[in-house]
Symmetry: C2
């Protein structure tokens, strides 16, 4: 199967620490790289992770708090210095374009690639990106300002041809795509060979959901039902539950509860408050409710 | 003597690497901290260096290239999150205020401390800061955009009282400040005790000059004559001399030549191009002309 990976560039919260960077992830699906959020220092994390800058063409910004977007201008400038020519697409609240454009005009004058801003309505669940293999949908979050998560889904894949059967019936190359799509084959003698004898099941279509920053949103569980990997913010431990509510964040337990309701296969927690020296307490609290809980760490890669 | 230190937070050039951060320094004079430049990631470097955020009240920005100022918005936001109330003064090209203010209005709404912008005319040599112990002067640089260096000088200090002599003549406390300033003492009997018998020489007034980013500017050598420590950019080795000229940067040899002409006591080079794996070649080239050459490195502290 092609790679479907989540690279953690930063999984801290608003206050930077020497343990965690501000939020950013790169999602690799096949040979495409998608970025989610871009806190200060993201470009350095890309370098540390040996991630090819030039393969990043689409950046999704969940919301306009600094720890999710202050790294954009530096990274965009560096792309320009490195001679990028490919367009860059940024999906974000309309306010980002308003704030970033004057900086681009001044700091990146004469740069050789265009930036296209795509405005997100964080209150809506809708498909905001689609190509031949992937869709990206927004997941409205509950935060202090408009915020949305993202659901990455592989499109249904083609069935696998059974080599021996294809050879046996000597099926011409030009017909094979249709057979991958499920068509039967009619031999020159008029015999109909059912698709089930020519193909095996397609690889499953995998999915990844990013939910941060947010209070628990059970209303999204139906949308992300059965997701292969759910990244859910777990800024606080249960002892800080009231603080989580006030600041519109989630506890590890609440993240686990969402994973359970959504029947996620695995949960990945992150966006840790700077008060925690490590994530063990958060993992423990989440695991009691949802055993398949993992902790994000800078530099870690999670395979889906 | 009170501390006069240069803390290197970043000494790389425009392209960030895993070896060097973007430009930033903290100058500690007594218990005051001054920041020069603030590239992306500066706030993290402050944390790594255990430098007290709250003692930084004055930030001097040499010029508006991203690697010298992209870290401001994140650091200012973090100051706000940490509950800062003390005013912050930023000395920079007027364009910085124009670019930063809309970001402050949006990202730092309701923050509890004021920011005062002081506009620099990079073409002029003038005193832009002065308090009871320190002055800061601009040093016009030659770069692709308006750029100025900074000269930090301790003001002349008071002479040291000779304890035994003060006791012997039983000089009242209220007169001692005048004697530190150089006054003679007249005893109740009318005898004049010359100041030279009551005091020892004051500590020397130390100075630090920051010259980056720039072509060599021999016209500044008179202004910085005899400076205790000169930080001078040395982006390139001599083999890239023509590239240095095109991009308005200096070679290590040119930096050393300026140090020599200015009769600096010591030279500190930095702003290394990302093409150099380490600074040894640059140091070697500079040392041939000016032996007292040191290389900036992140985390290093240079005492003056």
């Amino acid at each position: 199967m092609e790679p479907f990976e989540v690279h953690i560039l930063g999984c801290g919260s608003a206050l930077p620490t020497t343990r965690h960077n501000a939020s950013s992830q790169v999602i690799r699906i096949g040979n495409k790289l998608f970025m989610i959020d871009c806190g200060e220092g993201t470009q350095l994390q890309l370098r540390k992770g040996h991630i090819h800058f030039s393969f990043i063409n689409h950046i999704f910004i969940s919301h306009l708090h600094g720890d999710h977007c202050f790294g954009l201008i530096g990274m965009i400038s560096t792309f320009a210095l490195l001679g990028r020519t490919a367009p860059l697409h940024i999906y974000a609240d309309p306010k980002l374009e308003e704030l970033l454009q004057p900086q681009l005009d001044f700091f990146c004058k004469g740069m050789n690639y265009p930036i296209f801003f795509h405005h997100i309505d964080a209150g809506k669940h809708e498909t905001i990106f689609e190509d031949n293999t992937v869709t990206v949908e927004t997941l409205p979050q509950r935060h202090r300002i408009p915020c949305c998560g993202f659901l990455f889904k592989e499109k249904p894949k083609k069935r696998h041809l059974i080599g021996d059967a294809i050879n046996y019936y000597n099926i011409p190359t030009y017909m094979r795509q249709a057979i991958k799509d499920g068509a039967d084959y009619t031999t020159p003698e008029g015999e109909i060979i059912p698709n089930s004898r020519l193909t095996k099941d397609a690889d499953p279509s995998r999915s990844y959901a990013y939910c941060s920053d947010t209070l628990p949103c059970p209303e999204n569980c139906d949308i992300i039902k059965g997701v292969d990997l759910l990244y859910h913010e777990a800024t606080f431990a249960e002892s800080e539950k009231s603080r989580a509510a006030t600041t519109h964040h989630s506890t590890a337990k609440e993240a686990a509860d969402i994973a359970k309701r959504a029947e996620a296969k695995r949960l990945l927690i992150g966006h840790y408050s700077s008060r925690y020296e490590d994530s063990s307490k958060l993992q423990l609290e989440a695991s009691e409710i949802f055993p398949e809980t993992m902790c994000a760490e800078e530099g870690a890669i999670f395979n889906i």
